[in-house]
Symmetry: C2
């Protein structure tokens, strides 16, 4: 086995191209084995094995600097840079994260998880190199679909201003997470099909020298072409055509399914765990398709993550022209949604909490200033949404909940979610965002309102002295804490499902002042600038005490949600203990 | 005069091209006259007079839909669409705003003030048209430098997916606010110089049909070329070369100075008012140039608004390669800054509060997760920063102040500002943002710390019962309110300059609990999720009362800052009255 002899990229350079190809097979095998056991990004990693080997063969990292876009495709890079054991030995599987990580290795320069930043980062490294008189090569390795994100273009457009060397490797596997969208993808196809000779070369138009590697899974071709770019004094684009999922037949066949895989049986290609039958993805996708069938003006918009609302390829087909995927381009998605609403239609844009961050400006400006009645569905907005610091789902309450003019709703169960969506698409007055609870599907055992045009909290049960205001996905936690409190003290506390993140129900809060002393707020998000801070702010000049439960800003690189709950005093036992302390 | 007969674009269509040219002269005269009296965007408006006339001549607004990017260049459009009196008669000057405004006219579809959104908005309108079976033309009119913003590319890249008609008019005046940056600008020059025939056409590469109007101030050429695009069923780009400032010699000569003009004497080209000699722009630019001269690693980064830190063209030249302008591309600016810091240099990125909104994700991810020690200077962060709802400077505290890992500082005077900047560029541990006070230059009459690595509030005077914690630009307001309170009650309150927006000084706040009953917070920003909400949150389970002063989210379309202060109970008299009420 060659793989066992690779302690650093230096060891690669001793191997012949034939030996490098054998090494690629071994690496591919290690990746498939580990991902089948642990889950992870499979297709993208299998596609770039040869490219990563060739990069480390031709260039001299860590002196030369590699920035991998999104960095979910760095498994082979990790194997080649001293971390092979994390892929070879089961007991070491958890010693590396799934993204580039400076805490692991000097070969990883940045902690990266969002798309389209690599060219910017490389421009910055190149500028620092030039200011300090360095001579190293700086490379961004970016997927074709990550080029859709506006920031990538901002950096490509800037690169020529550097008057200096920069290498951008485009890993063109003809896929985003779902199918590719956008005319740049079509242009890449033209370039492939014309052997790089079609007219109107995008990269040349913005000042890049252009190279094509037609078989990007062939190590000798890669080495030949990459070698030509070494030491460049100007911006160079290397267009490398790779096969996503290469080497695992199921992943070659169904690229979307195998972009990120749960643990699976490698012989049958079956996932070992199944998604709960009742989940918000399938619930809301069926409901949206029903709305689409009844209203030709309803349009669902995705930004490369349609699966966050359960829009798999079959459902996307059913939605037809009432479904839009703008690519990884949240800014365009939000602004288009605002204009579609202005044009008299009913846009529903859905994305993950961590990705909607890209569109704050567009939500504040295009959506809210003119009060365009669009709907945004915010998924994975929870400590249970993802499990690492680049993909937290706990920042969106301060981000969106303080935008003037946005109605930000937090359903705590299926019935509220559906009711809020129905209301949102039926009204034409205000922009609405809905924060999907991500702690499992629950059902209302109380009446659900049909109208959300005025802030009105729902009192689920009325008690005294202590009131639990438990938001969205933490409503059931609040209920359990309230029950435990009642059990421990014999006092029945009040329990409120507030439903509204933006603004406060002043009448409800005033009402509590007569027979309550403490209000407990619970939210599945960070405390700073969050929901509880609005309640605390409202009561700040009154005698009501407010205890806020949620997360501190200290999110570990990788975490287990239940551990983070514990650490932030968020079990019902911990909550009740603190309430009893303060009383 | 033709201008007086234009009630709507229909009236244009009766005129000959010669008459249209005469009309253009009249419109130009009206614009120069009004802007010389009131101030406003001059250069861009003078450049697009003929283009706007031709657009309204060829197309049929409001059935056909125009979206003007940034919309600061819509003066001629307003004149042609029923609002000429606002440019002809002094007593009506204030009846229109400086940007497109749906409250004024059905010809204005959106309230727009930020760049690079027009193509997205047009894509959304086109999609709504196609869903509802409409046939109208949809046009985005976008400046060359606005194409640098990533969102514009996201939308251009999406346009071909529409499979439908869309017209993008590029108003190429070869300028941003300062000089243009980026390779797309160079490509536009190539296109101009080659009469549109150079190889590797950017627009064609991403699926657009391409048209060139070499003299974009010639009405017949414009009409001929625009007419060819009417009724298109696919995306078309019309590259129109115009002269910024055309028709006013001073503005033709110095395009940057006349991008936005204060009231001026049209004969001499002199502004009627002068900027105070001591202003934060000149203070900080000289200080930064001094730092640059001493440290070759210090780099100033702008995103097309270098003037926000006083970097005029002469100072930009002095900074040499230690100055970067990335164009209107805040995302790239922040990410590059993070990487420049990682590369061992000292980046200082400066922009307006309202524009930093575009880069939330990059600040949270690239800057803060890896704790890249970059500095960001946030200017115009105040109700005095701008005067309309698309350019508020009052949202950045909730936006940036709640990002875990960001040290957000609020100097209240010149000495603190300089000291914080010096500290920030000398340390290599944390990313720092500095919120420049925008209520006039003041000076410290107390000791200023040199180290800001730990949160420590400055007690300026120690009193009892009541404590004023007055942030940044509102520190002097807090001091005046504290003095008035002492005068009215005979009780000397405590006055604190908190200096830190992010986090709270727990020791200082705990210290107040022994002999204070009320804490007053003041901030030049909205209250929701803001500075005061952190103080209120900290005291929420204690008996201290907190009164928060700042702005509600209700920002009028156009406002006078002192009026908005009054409306939000922010004069010292109003503040003290409310404190006395609660006591």
């Amino acid at each position: 086995m060659y793989i066992e002899s690779i302690e650093s990229p230096k060891d690669l350079k001793k191997l012949s191209t034939q030996e490098l190809s054998a090494l690629a097979c071994e690496i591919r095998e290690a990746i498939i084995k580990k991902v089948s056991a642990c889950g992870g990004h499979l297709g993208s990693n299998l596609g770039v094995v040869e490219l990563t080997i060739a990069l480390h063969y031709v260039f001299d990292a860590p002196a030369d600097k590699f920035v991998f876009d999104v960095s979910h495709q760095t498994y082979c890079h990790k194997i080649l840079t001293g971390r092979k054991d994390a892929f070879l030995y089961e007991d070491q599987y958890k010693t590396v994260t799934g993204f580039s990580n400076p805490l692991e290795s000097e070969y990883d320069l940045f902690t990266i998880g969002h798309t389209s930043t690599s060219v910017s980062l490389a421009c910055g490294l190149a500028k620092a190199r030039d200011l300090t008189g360095g001579k190293e090569n700086v490379l961004a390795i970016i997927g074709d679909s990550s080029l859709d994100g506006g920031e990538a273009f901002e950096a490509l457009n800037y690169a020529a201003e550097l008057n200096s060397g920069l290498i951008v490797v485009i890993n063109d596997n003809e896929m985003s997470i779902p199918e590719n969208h956008g005319s740049l993808g079509r242009h890449l196809t033209e370039l492939r099909e014309s052997h790089g000779k079609c007219s109107d070369n995008f990269f040349r138009s913005i000042g890049f020298e252009y190279h094509l590697v037609e078989n990007g899974n062939d190590i000798p071709s890669l080495i030949t072409e990459l070698s030509k770019t070494k030491g460049t004094d100007h911006p160079v684009a290397v267009h490398v055509c790779t096969q996503k999922g290469k080497g695992y037949a199921f992943a070659e066949e169904n690229k979307e399914k195998w972009h990120w895989a749960r643990p699976f049986n490698r012989d049958t290609g079956e996932f070992l765990s199944s998604v709960p039958k009742e989940n918000y993805g399938s619930i809301i996708s069926e409901h949206l398709l029903d709305l689409i069938s009844k209203d030709p003006k309803l349009t669902v918009i995705a930004a490369s993550t349609p699966i966050c609302i359960g829009f798999d390829s079959e459902k996307r087909k059913r939605a037809g022209k009432q479904y839009i995927d703008v690519g990884i381009a949240e800014q365009n998605a939000v602004t288009m949604a605002a204009a579609i609403a202005k044009g008299g239609c009913k846009p529903v844009f859905a994305t993950n909490s961590t990705f909607i961050q890209r569109a704050y400006d567009q939500i504040e400006q295009e959506m809210c200033i003119d009060q365009c009645p669009a709907t945004m569905i915010v998924t994975h907005a929870s400590v249970y949404g993802h499990f690492n610091d680049t993909h937290t789902g706990v920042y969106d309450i301060p981000l969106l909940g303080n935008i003037p003019g946005l109605t930000y709703l937090a359903p705590s169960n299926k019935e509220e979610y559906i009711s809020m969506l129905d209301w949102s698409v039926s009204q034409n007055k205000v922009p609405v965002a809905i924060r999907v609870p991500w702690t499992g599907v629950t059902h209302a055992d109380y009446d659900i309102p049909a109208d959300y045009s005025k802030i009105a909290y729902k009192t689920v049960y009325k008690g005294k002295k202590v009131c639990f205001i438990a938001l969205g996905g933490f409503f059931e936690l609040g209920r359990r804490a309230a029950d435990l409190f009642a059990e421990k003290t014999g006092i029945q506390p009040t329990l409120i499902d507030p439903m509204f993140i933006s603004g406060v129900d002043e009448a409800a809060l005033d009402g509590l002042t007569t027979d309550h002393e403490i209000v407990i707020t619970l939210e599945d998000g960070i405390l700073d600038g969050g929901f509880g801070s609005k309640i605390a702010g409202y009561y700040s000049d009154k005698s009501m005490k407010v205890l806020r439960f949620g997360f501190s800003g200290k999110i570990p690189r990788v975490y287990v949600p239940t551990d983070l709950m514990q650490k932030n005093q968020l079990t019902e036992k911990q909550i009740v203990e603190r309430v009893l302390e303060i009383q």
